[in-house]
């Protein structure tokens, strides 16, 4: 059992999920409440990383962060090492790839919240920020959970992008999905099955807790 890889994957997925929520919530907010006419174009752009095969997306990311690109050079200048084959690079690529999974369900949930509740909050003196944290977000909880779960699970299972940008370094970028892949490729099916099973059980436990705790408590049907 490759515990190191599992630990790394969980760390990566948790971090990416957290960052995606931090990024995704404001983006979804903007997509939902912006009055600009071209908002829907941005909405489409957000979904685009999805349509590329992960390895190809990874390839483009690799080009973009490589030593030949301005981004790569700037990063190297500041940190002293490249972005590729590092945990940071993996985080960056995963964020890019999973962004739509976070943004879209959250934006959909936001758009279903009754505007008059947001108005009521403002009239009780709440800043936009407080209205967001105390009214909009709790009322969109199911959508936010969906966004978080999809991006967490997707990052756990992500393979193509990680493979391309990570370089399969044990303890640094060798995630559990790559480990299982290697085990399958190396005909070590027993190990692969065991790792996959562990991953499934772990994910199932996490998801069950999340879903079990967040069943919308205020919509208890009356009967």
């Amino acid at each position: 059992m490759d515990w190191q890889a599992i630990g790394l994957s969980v760390r990566l997925a948790t971090l990416v999920c957290a960052i995606l929520l931090i990024l995704g919530l404001p983006i979804a907010y903007w997509l939902t409440f912006s009055r600009r006419r071209w908002t829907f174009l941005v909405e489409s752009v957000v979904a685009l990383p999805l349509v590329l095969p992960p390895t190809v997306l990874g390839f483009y990311v690799l080009m973009a962060i490589g030593a030949r690109s301005p981004v790569g050079r700037a990063w190297e200048h500041w940190t002293g090492h490249g972005l590729a084959f590092t945990f940071e690079g993996l985080v960056l690529a995963s964020i890019l790839y999973s962004l739509p999974f976070a943004v879209q369900p959250i934006a959909a949930a936001f758009s279903q919240v009754d505007v008059s509740l947001l108005e009521a909050s403002a009239l009780l003196g709440s800043s936009r920020w407080r209205t967001f944290t105390r009214v909009l977000a709790p009322l969109s909880l199911q959508g936010i959970i969906t966004g978080a779960v999809l991006s967490f699970a997707h990052t756990l299972g992500e393979f193509g992008v990680v493979l391309m940008v990570g370089g399969n370094l044990p303890g640094v970028t060798r995630t559990v999905s790559i480990a299982i892949y290697d085990q399958v490729q190396g005909f070590d099916y027993a190990a692969a099955n065991a790792t996959a099973l562990l991953l499934l059980v772990f994910s199932f436990a996490v998801l069950s807790v999340v879903y079990g705790l967040t069943r919308k408590p205020w919509s208890v049907t009356r009967s």
């Binding site: 108005e119 009521a120 909050s121 403002a122 009239l123 009780l124 003196g125 709440s126 009214v135 205020w218």
Partner: protein, 361 residues
């Protein structure tokens, strides 16, 4: 003084333009009007939820909105309390949390004390731990009212806040509201379509019709001496009668009119109109006295003989249809009706004081 002043023009739809000029002084001002007359729209403009096309809104010296200078204070900074017609309680918070919501600046203890106090006065203390979907309609209304009042706003906008409550609860809350504001003296704009509430609460009333102010003043003046027929009907002047001016008595400041298609004559207060011109006269059914024999030695000039055509009871009122050549509606108390032995077919005499007659246009 912190008077709320608003001159606003807002186009709601192709066929509805709100165009009002209001001054809401400290105390309770009733905003009265038929369904769809623009009451809620006025409140939304004042609260900053709708931006008028032009105009100016101020509280005392503070400019909330000015189309010319581009000032438009956002709702969260207007310090305006607002009870929505649809309440808009937060469904995910308990009643107590709803009430606390506007008190975030206070510490926990003060907050709790304030919310307990207001909950007690609105009799929702046992409901504090419930969520809105576990409340009845009237309980929700009380919770929404408590949520707004507890924040001590600079102006209070109430959109039919008591419409889901029984009369007993209404009276109690009206009393509470009056006491609450006695200590504060803020301008309160209170939307209603009920006469009862206008008289019970209002020091002043503003009447809206189709987006414009039809009348504005003391309830007894505005609703009792309406200058327009529509207002007369809206304020319960059940009798609006066509008439022709016969003669004018300048010394008594009255004029003599004959009701159209009859020979009934009425003396009414002098108004615009020369002999021969048409006028309309509005009389409240409750202002007409009824006698079962020809009254003698009374000061009233107008005594009209007729027959009871119909009689029915509505609440604490007996409604009579009296035929005098023209039909009159007359209201009496059940007690009076009984002691006078009123019944269909009985001859009666209507006694109408000159000053109970309003000339409307």
């Amino acid at each position: 003084m912190t008077t709320l002043r608003a001159v606003i023009r807002a186009r709601v739809s192709a066929d509805f333009l709100l165009d009002v000029d209001l001054a809401v002084e400290p105390g309770i001002t009733m905003l009265f009007g038929a369904s769809g007359s623009g009451k809620t729209t006025v409140l939304r403009c004042l609260a900053g939820l709708r931006t008028p096309e032009s105009g100016r809104i101020t509280i005392g010296d503070r400019v909330l909105f000015a189309a010319d200078t581009g000032v438009d204070v956002p709702p969260q900074q207007r310090n305006v309390g607002y009870v929505f017609q649809q309440l808009a309680l937060f469904p995910h918070l308990t009643v107590e949390q709803n009430i606390h919501y506007g008190l975030s600046a206070l510490d926990q203890d003060t907050r709790r004390a304030r919310s307990r106090e207001i909950a007690a006065s609105f009799r929702i203390e046992p409901l504090l731990q419930r969520r809105p979907d576990q409340l009845s309609g009237g309980e929700r209304q009380r919770a929404a009212l408590a949520r707004s009042l507890v924040t001590n706003p600079q102006v209070l906008l109430l959109d039919e806040p008591l419409s889901a409550l029984d009369h007993a609860s209404q009276s109690r809350i009206i009393e509470d509201l009056r006491n609450w504001n006695a200590a504060r003296g803020i301008p309160i704009l209170y939307v209603t379509h009920s006469h009862r509430e206008v008289f019970a609460l209002g020091a002043r009333v503003i009447v809206l019709e189709r987006g414009t102010v039809l009348a504005d003043g003391l309830p007894e003046h505005v609703l009792e001496a309406p200058e327009q027929e529509s207002l007369a009907r809206l304020t319960g002047h059940e009798n609006v009668l066509d008439a022709v001016v016969e003669s004018i008595r300048p010394d008594a400041a009255t004029m003599q009119c004959r009701l159209s298609r009859s020979d009934v004559e009425l003396e009414v207060p002098r108004a615009k109109g020369e002999p021969g011109s048409s006028v309309r006269i509005a009389i409240r059914a409750g202002d007409i006295l009824l006698a079962t024999e020809p009254p003698r030695g009374i000061s009233a000039r107008n005594v009209i003989a007729g027959t009871i055509g119909a009689l029915r009871r509505e609440g604490a009122t007996v409604i009579l249809q009296v035929d005098t050549g023209v039909p009159f509606e007359v209201h009496v108390t059940p007690g009076a009706s009984e002691s006078l032995g009123l019944a269909v077919g009985r001859p009666v005499w209507l006694v109408i004081k000159t000053h109970s007659c309003r000339t409307v246009v």
